[in-house]
């Protein structure tokens, strides 16, 4: 717009949400935050600007609920936790059915995934040095608490079987000293415990995300555990196909194919059960893209497994595709949840709909809004 000949001397209006120059120049610098979950107290939460909303159906388009401050490491943890849990069972199965290489790689996969996953989990804490406070209490009402205890227990037994495996590989060079017989003697109970805890580790994260007020996660709470378990299963199969010889991985290939079937089915069932506004983040934008690619990779991996699973190279490529699919699923679901809080309609509309539905059904005494 040209108002006066002086316009050339007038500064541009500038982007609306520019931070003050110099803010944070002193003080500690804001950690660089990736796109995920940037809702820490610094008030950078996005106000949806591209969605046109009647300003009065929400408060200036601001979110009603908040996304947790969970960034990429949490998706990594969800993926690796599932992989670790699945690999734990697989390792135990391999031991029981005499597949030594599969046993070894699965145990090491479980231990490695668990280790990296735990680091990722800790990294994402606001106060990582207080990680151990997770063990302060055991709260049945908190999936995170329950899950931490599962994680801890699984970690302990995985540590034992992992140590045994490494000890064997190195020719008993781990300085276990007089404890060696004791450790090796614990292999069977530890392996059974690993198999028992592994599925819980892969599964509890469904409740972790479902037990929230984040619209897309909360709407998916009936299906998330199934989805995550399926995803963990296909990842477990994939990892095994990648790391173990084809001679020992037939169960893993079957598992992978079953996982893919479960994964695709549960994701579609989950979306179908949701209010369209709650499902939308799973289908659009970055998370939508990731989930579409997750599905493509999973199906491709399954096809590869079925058609070429007995060829080492094809198995390896298929396994990698499955791992990527599983990782993308976790990133996609996590990000879809974080995305879903940004538009307040995703909270308000489904809630209004269910309130109306209850009223239509004659239930009128449970509204938070009342008149004296």
């Amino acid at each position: 717009m040209s108002i006066t000949p002086l316009d050339a001397d007038r500064p541009p209006e500038g982007p609306r949400r520019r931070r003050r120059p110099g803010a944070g120049r002193t003080g500690r610098r804001r950690r660089s935050i990736d796109r995920l979950g940037s809702t820490d107290g610094g008030r950078e939460q996005a106000v949806v600007e591209d969605i046109t909303i009647d300003p009065y159906d929400s408060y200036y388009g601001r979110p009603v609920v908040k996304a947790p401050p969970w960034r990429a490491p949490i998706a990594v943890y969800l993926f690796l936790g599932g992989l670790a849990g699945g690999s734990g069972i697989l390792a135990t199965g391999a031991r029981l059915t005499g597949r030594p290489v599969l046993r070894r790689t699965a145990r090491l996969t479980a231990l490695g995934a668990l280790g990296v996953g735990t680091v990722a989990l800790i990294e994402d804490l606001g106060r990582p040095e207080r990680f151990l406070n997770m063990m302060r209490t055991l709260k049945i009402s908190s999936p995170m608490s329950v899950g931490t205890w599962i994680l801890g227990s699984f970690g302990a037994v995985s540590g034992v079987v992992g140590a045994i495996e490494v000890d064997r590989m190195t020719g008993e060079r781990i300085p276990l000293g007089p404890l060696r017989p004791l450790v090796h003697g614990a292999e069977t109970p530890a392996a059974l415990a690993q198999a028992a805890l592994g599925p819980l580790l892969a599964s509890y994260t469904g409740a972790l995300l479902g037990d929230t007020a984040v619209p897309t996660w909360a709407a998916g709470r009936k299906h998330l555990s199934a989805l995550f378990v399926s995803s963990a299963t296909l990842a477990t199969g994939g990892a095994a196909m990648l790391t173990a010889p084809v001679s020992e991985t037939r169960p893993a290939r079957l598992l992978a194919v079953a996982g893919v079937a479960g994964d695709v089915a549960s994701l579609h069932a989950m979306k179908a059960s949701m209010h369209p506004l709650e499902a939308e983040p799973l289908e659009t934008g970055r998370p939508g893209t990731m989930l579409r690619w997750a599905e493509r990779l999973a199906v491709a991996g399954a096809v590869g497994t079925v058609l070429g699973g007995r060829h080492r190279a094809v198995a390896a490529v298929s396994g990698a595709a499955l791992l990527a699919a599983s990782a993308l699923t976790r990133f996609g679901v996590l990000e879809a949840g974080l995305e879903s809080v940004k538009d307040p309609r995703r909270v308000i509309e489904p809630q209004k709909a269910r309130l109306a539905a209850r009223r239509d059904a004659g239930i009128t005494d449970d509204s938070i809004t009342t008149v004296g």
Binding site: M1, I3, T4, L6, D9, R10, P12, E13, R16
Partner: protein, 886 residues
């Protein structure tokens, strides 16, 4: 206020400026009172009122004049009260001429000096009787020369149609307002008005208050519970700083500073109050003697008129804006700022800062690096290139000040209550109280001058200046309060504090620094420090703090009883005559001679309190009555009459005289004025803007923009515009706009809101723009922005010498303002369009052209026009001149 049945808040944004005071409004509302907010903007006050009535800024006299006419036409006045307590029946001099007859001017106007000679506004009657406060009266109110009949004629044209076409208020809304007020007035009911700077900061502001005063007197709403006109003041002790003033025109206790030629002490005090007049100003001599004696002690004797000649003399107005002009002429060397930020807070910020650059030295005492301390390095004129730090010779001293927790002392709040603060901690670093600074400066100057034989130094050396100090050199504030209270010098009570000003003597045997505060240290007890919890007291809460005068909480409360001394009604009783006890009694300290019977005719021969009759409730006035018509005290007319604001583009609907003829103007290139309705080019600045404060900030921001918690709540300068105006000009919501007045241009974020209403005035639409004035440009504050006061000219109300901040005209365009010297080019471009500077004037590069007038400028620089300030403003509101029974 909580007792009112109807509260009209006009010219005040009470909920925002005084949130804690507003609790009483909400309380009244809960009890069923109707709350009406009349204001150009829909504010947080409107949001909590029963109704908001938007009006065109600066037309309050028409609106309230309209209500006065409504009362008179429909015979709704409180007849008994009116006849008993007001001057309605008083006859006015035959020479008086009303603007209705003189085409917009009162009689006595002198074109040349732009002032009135008010002798034609006097009461009619025998001079001797007049001096005793006994003018001619016609109790039937029928004589055409009675105040009542004059009032009727004066407001005859203030019809609802006139209100509609002038204020932009529909007839229905006017009817609602008028009915609400009149139905809630009378024996059983009272209406209360609240105003603030929305009235005072107008040319004609004093008259706006007067209009409400006239209305309230007509309806009997003065001196009664839930009545009156409440002035809402914006600063902790702004009341105190006029009672004990740091103002040029008065001494403590509203004694006027003597003017040149007033060399006779007897004449000086007679000017204030004559011995034979009614009421308590008859003892002006006593108060003056006690003040002089308090200051100059042994050097003040009866023989030398108590050192009356030590007082400097005035020769006209010496207000802050006149002083700025003097600074620009290099007539002032040194400037002290005590917790004040004129670079942001005073009208025409540009001239304020340019004036500072002419000083030799400047002392800034504050908590933070306010803009008035740093203007020489980061002020707006540095940015435009008009000033360069290297060129500025002003020597700056920044002295850190102690804050309210770091010193003991008293504040006087808006209802005249003095409250003491205890000291909590020592001030940090170099910080000192102003008390210590003043005492120390005095000590140093006295020490340096101690061998002086120059007679001009005698007043300094003869001062009583011996206050006890603590180990940090801080004077004992209570000892100063004790001096203000006063004490006996001789006699059996020698050394004892006065119990009240009734004990003051004119013979030099007592001293007292401020007579109205006498009693605050009665019995040697700091009465302002009383803190009996409110829960343990009645509503009057007389044992919390101390209210002047004499701890009285409601003034003129004699008017709460009828001619026989009985309460007007049970609901509205406050003070009444107790026949058995033979005295006035009630829920408050009676504001009347306590044993004077209601049927006492008064003894004119006595003068003072003795001359008051039993119904002379308005004990501050020389005739004991509430003034509907003010024969003296105002410089621009005895009755409020409507003039358009100086820059208004709306022609005055009433008179050919467009603007208040007595307004004070300063002519300077930096103080230009839109021609308004005087020329078609006035439309260069087509929109009215009004400035205001918001809850989250405090005046010039010196106590708010440096505080993180307040800064985040309102972080940026903004302007409020209606959706219609935004559409007309193309303003984006929350984008930037540049506002241009004849003085300067500023930028601000735009709040487009339906809270701003375009008003229909005749056949035109008037758009009003609102903007807070808290922001300023510097570099130290947490939040800053362009200052609204840069847009405002120095244009003063003649009565109060207060600037017109509420009604100026501007242009507004989208986008940010130009940077650097081009800002001045923009301002000049609009001035050229408005015909304020010649079309062919060479473009002046800001860096070269300022300060001062540019080439080819016709106006002579730095001329001032207009009368001096009125000595006292009889507003009908509880205010200044005040006496007690002795």
């Amino acid at each position: 206020m909580a007792n009112a049945d109807c509260i009209v808040i006009e010219g005040s944004n009470m909920a925002e400026a005084h949130p804690v005071g507003f609790q009483w409004v909400m309380e009244a509302k809960k009890r069923g009172a109707r709350v009406i907010h009349v204001d150009p903007r829909f504010t947080r006050t409107s949001a909590n009122a029963d109704k908001h009535i938007p009006l065109r800024s600066g037309t309050d006299v028409v609106l309230l004049g309209g209500v006065i006419r409504y009362v008179l036409e429909n015979e709704l006045w409180f007849d008994e009260y009116l006849k008993l307590f007001t001057n309605a029946s008083t006859l006015v001099s035959e020479e008086y001429g009303d603007p209705e007859d003189l085409e917009g001017l009162f009689s006595g106007y002198d074109e040349e000096t732009a002032t009135y000679d008010n002798s034609t506004w006097a009461y009619a009657g025998d001079p001797e009787r007049l001096a005793q406060g006994l003018p001619e009266r016609d109790e039937t109110l029928r004589d055409p020369r009675t105040v009542f009949q004059i009032l009727k004629r004066h407001y005859a044209r203030y019809t609802p149609e006139m209100v509609r076409d002038t204020c932009g208020i529909s007839e229905a809304d006017f009817e609602y307002l008028a009915r609400s007020i009149t139905e809630n007035s009378g024996r059983d009911r009272t209406t209360c008005f609240a105003y603030a700077l929305g009235w005072t900061q107008h040319v004609g502001g004093a008259q706006m208050i007067r209009t409400a005063g006239v209305l309230q007197l007509l309806l009997g709403n003065v001196g009664r519970p839930g009545s009156g006109i409440m002035a809402l003041r914006g600063h902790a002790t702004i009341q105190g700083s006029t009672d004990i003033p740091t103002l040029y025109h008065i001494l403590p206790g509203y004694l006027p500073m003597p003017k040149a030629g007033e060399d006779d002490f007897g004449e000086y005090v007679r000017q204030i109050g004559k011995k034979e007049q009614k009421g308590f100003w008859a003892n002006a001599d006593v108060y003056a003697v006690n003040l002089l004696k308090a200051w100059w002690g042994d050097a003040a004797t009866a023989e030398n008129d108590f050192a009356f000649d030590y007082l400097p003399r005035l020769t006209g107005a010496h207000g802050t804006y006149q002083t700025v002009m003097r600074m620009l002429e290099d007539g002032v060397d040194g400037y002290f700022l005590f917790g004040q930020n004129p670079a942001v807070g005073s009208a025409n910020g540009r001239m304020q800062r340019l004036a500072m650059s002419h000083l030799k030295w400047m002392v800034v005492r504050d908590f933070y690096m306010i803009e008035s301390a740093t203007w020489w390095k980061d002020g707006p004129e540095i940015e435009t290139g008009e000033l360069r730090a290297e060129d500025i010779a002003t020597e700056m001293f920044y002295l850190p000040a102690a804050n309210h927790t770091e010193k003991a002392g008293s504040f006087t709040q808006t209802q005249r209550m003095v409250q003491w603060r205890d000291k909590a901690v020592e001030p940090p670093g170099d910080a000192q109280s102003d008390l210590q600074f003043a005492f120390d400066l005095g000590n140093r100057v006295r020490e340096k001058l101690k061998n002086s034989t120059d007679p001009r130094d005698r007043p300094i050396l003869d001062l009583t200046w011996d206050y006890p100090v603590d180990e940090h050199g801080e004077p004992d504030a209570e000892s100063v309060l004790a001096e203000i209270n006063g004490r006996h010098l001789t006699g059996e009570k020698a050394g004892q504090p006065l119990s009240g000003f009734a004990e003051m003597k004119a013979d030099g045997s007592t001293i007292g620094g401020c007579w109205i505060y006498s009693g605050v240290y009665a019995d040697g007890v700091n009465q302002a420090r009383r803190r009996t919890p409110g829960q343990q007291q009645d509503e009057t809460a007389a044992e919390w703090g101390w209210a002047w005068p004499a701890n009285r909480r409601i003034l003129y409360n004699r008017a709460s009883a009828d001619g026989e001394g009985k309460p007007w009604s049970e609901r509205k009783k406050l003070v009444w005559w107790d026949e058995e006890m033979g005295r006035w009694t009630g829920d408050d300290v009676p504001d009347f001679p306590v044993t004077k019977r209601p049927d006492d005719p008064g003894d004119p021969s006595k003068g003072g309190a003795g001359a008051l009759s039993g119904t002379d409730a308005f004990i501050m006035q020389a005739d004991g009555r509430g003034w509907l018509f003010a024969p003296s005290g105002l410089v621009d007319g005895p009755l409020p009459t409507h003039y358009e604001a100086p820059e208004s583009t709306v022609p005055n609907p009433l008179y050919a005289v467009q603007n208040n003829p007595t307004r004070v103007t300063f002519q300077d290139r930096n103080n230009m004025q839109s021609p308004g309705a005087h020329s078609a080019k006035g439309e260069t600045y087509p929109y009215v803007f009004t400035t205001y404060r918001i809850t989250e900030h405090h005046t010039a921001g010196g106590m708010s923009r440096f505080l993180p918690y307040l800064s985040e709540l309102q972080p940026e300068m903004y302007v409020e515009v209606s959706p219609q105006l935004a559409g007309e000009v193309g303003l984006e919501p929350y984008g930037w706009a540049t506002v241009i007045s004849a003085r300067s241009a500023i930028e601000a974020k735009v709040l487009v809101t339906e809270r701003m209403t375009p008003l229909t005035i005749g056949d035109r639409t008037v758009h009003q723009i609102g903007m807070p004035f808290h922001f300023g440009r510097g570099s130290a504050a947490i939040v800053e922005g362009d200052g609204a006061n840069d847009l405002i000219g120095m244009m003063l109300d003649a009565n109060t010498q207060i600037q017109n901040s509420k009604n100026n005209d501007c242009a507004i365009i989208p986008g940010r303002r130009p940077r650097g010297p081009k800002l001045l080019t923009l301002v000049d471009e609009y001035r050229r369009r408005a015909g304020l500077i010649p079309e062919d004037e060479a473009q002046v590069d800001g860096a070269l052209g300022a300060p001062g007038p540019g080439p080819g400028h016709e106006l002579s620089p730095h001329t001032m026009r207009g009368p001096e300030e009125a000595t006292a403003v009889p507003t009908g509101e509880p205010s200044m001149k005040e006496m007690r029974n002795r």
